[in-house]
């Protein structure tokens, strides 16, 4: 399996970005929904610290991923897809990138405006995006919450579309992103319906 993507399959680096970010985002959404209801405690503070560290990691990985995306090629959409479906897919993937950058950034801004520290996995403290500001804090908190629900919706939509490709269209769209998948043959025009 090559690091770079080919015409039939995603390269190992693109897969690594996809699945590591997917794991961190789904884990952090769960952690975030759980931790907000904790009573004030050291456990709550540690949970928030972990949530922030994961979020900052997602932000960093997303920036690297965008950089790699600019250098790498993308396997084309399967031939069976209608022009409308391709456009919808392109817009939704673009939106996904925007959401996955905006979600950690809004959290960072919320944290800064609330005047909390931000330490990445106990190793390094990150600068503030703003001074303590109660009004901005409220705005950023709302934004962070709404963005989180939009990301949940996007994850569900994305997974549904992948399953639709796999089960209904019976094409390679889901399979070619799986870690174990290797292009065995070049896609032929007649391969997919």
């Amino acid at each position: 399996m090559s690091i770079r993507s080919g015409p039939d399959a995603w390269g190992s680096l693109a897969k690594l970005f996809h699945w590591s970010i997917a794991t961190l985002v789904i884990g952090n959404l769960s952690l975030g929904l759980w931790m907000v209801d904790l009573d004030a405690s050291a456990q709550k503070m540690r949970s928030y610290g972990l949530h922030k560290s994961i979020g900052i990691s997602v932000l960093g990985l997303m920036l690297l991923r965008l950089l790699w995306r600019a250098l790498d090629q993308r396997p084309p959409a399967p031939p069976g897809m209608s022009p409308l479906a391709r456009r919808v897919s392109r817009v939704l993937h673009g939106g996904f990138y925007v959401l996955l950058l905006a979600l950690p950034l809004s959290g960072w801004l919320y944290n800064s405006a609330a005047n909390f520290p931000l330490r990445w996995f106990g190793l390094v403290n990150l600068p503030r995006l703003s001074a303590a500001d109660p009004v901005l804090k409220q705005l950023a908190q709302s934004a962070h919450e709404w963005l989180a629900f939009l990301v949940i919706a996007a994850v569900l939509l994305h997974a549904s579309a992948a399953l639709k490709h796999h089960l209904i269209d019976r094409d390679q769209v889901l399979r070619r992103m799986l870690p174990s998948y290797r292009a065995r043959h070049r896609a032929q025009p007649g391969d997919s319906p």
Binding site: A40, Q43, A114, F116
Partner: protein, 220 residues
């Protein structure tokens, strides 16, 4: 003999009142602290505290500080943290609304520098502390400045699961900056004067800055 003695007392009275010199805390006074949360320093202050300062650099035997701090007035520019620190794991203001600082003995260290043996009570724990401070005078009044490092665990602040120094630092630096103006019979008189007649009071304010300016500010 009667008249010279009275004259002498009157002259001395304005300079060094016999027993002790009482000072009034001005609104510019600050009681600040610096803590550490998750590796990052944060600044806070207590907005309400009341100090009784009895101090004459030339008569330390009479000196006496007594300060009460309203713990609910804590402000660290973070509403969640300010709320949490009032709870039962920390200040527990429901049971212990005030911290109390009082001195026991004073000694001079150098010109303008002193040290007091003091007791600080927080959350029902009374601990002896050394309280080194400087005392300086300028046109605004007298300034008492001190900086003391405390260990929060000495006062039972954040024990148990909070004891971890890495999450919330155990060392807290408390910085005291008091602006003081001397209070006394003289100043009370000049305050009455200043209410009655503008021109005269302004003159008396110039003559005696401690009483005159003080009477104006302390009414804020």
């Amino acid at each position: 003999m009667k008249i010279p003695l009275l004259t002498l007392l009157a002259v001395l009275g304005g300079v060094a009142p016999a027993a002790a010199r009482d000072w009034q805390q001005q609104t510019e006074s600050q009681l600040r602290f610096e803590g550490n949360q998750q590796g990052e320093a944060f600044a806070g202050q207590f907005r309400r505290f009341e100090s009784r300062i009895n101090f004459d650099p030339d008569d330390l035997a009479q000196a006496d500080f007594d300060v009460r701090i309203d713990l609910a007035s804590v402000d660290t520019a973070n509403s969640e943290r300010d709320q949490a620190v009032l709870g039962s794991d920390w200040f527990d203001v429901g049971r212990f609304p005030q911290a109390h600082f009082r001195t026991r003995a004073f000694r001079a260290l150098a010109e303008g520098r002193f040290e007091a043996d003091a007791e600080l009570q927080i959350r029902g724990h009374t601990r002896p502390i050394k309280f080194p401070f400087t005392w300086t005078d300028d046109a605004a009044g007298s300034h008492l400045h001190a900086s003391v490092v405390l260990d929060r665990l000495d006062f039972g602040l954040g024990s148990g699961e909070w004891a971890d120094d890495d999450l919330i630092g155990t060392q807290v630096t408390v910085t005291v900056n008091l602006l003081l103006r001397e209070s006394g019979v003289g100043s009370r008189e000049s305050r009455v004067e200043s209410r009655e007649s503008g021109v005269e009071s302004r003159e008396s304010r110039v003559e005696s800055r401690e009483s005159g300016v003080g009477s104006r500010e302390s009414e804020n």
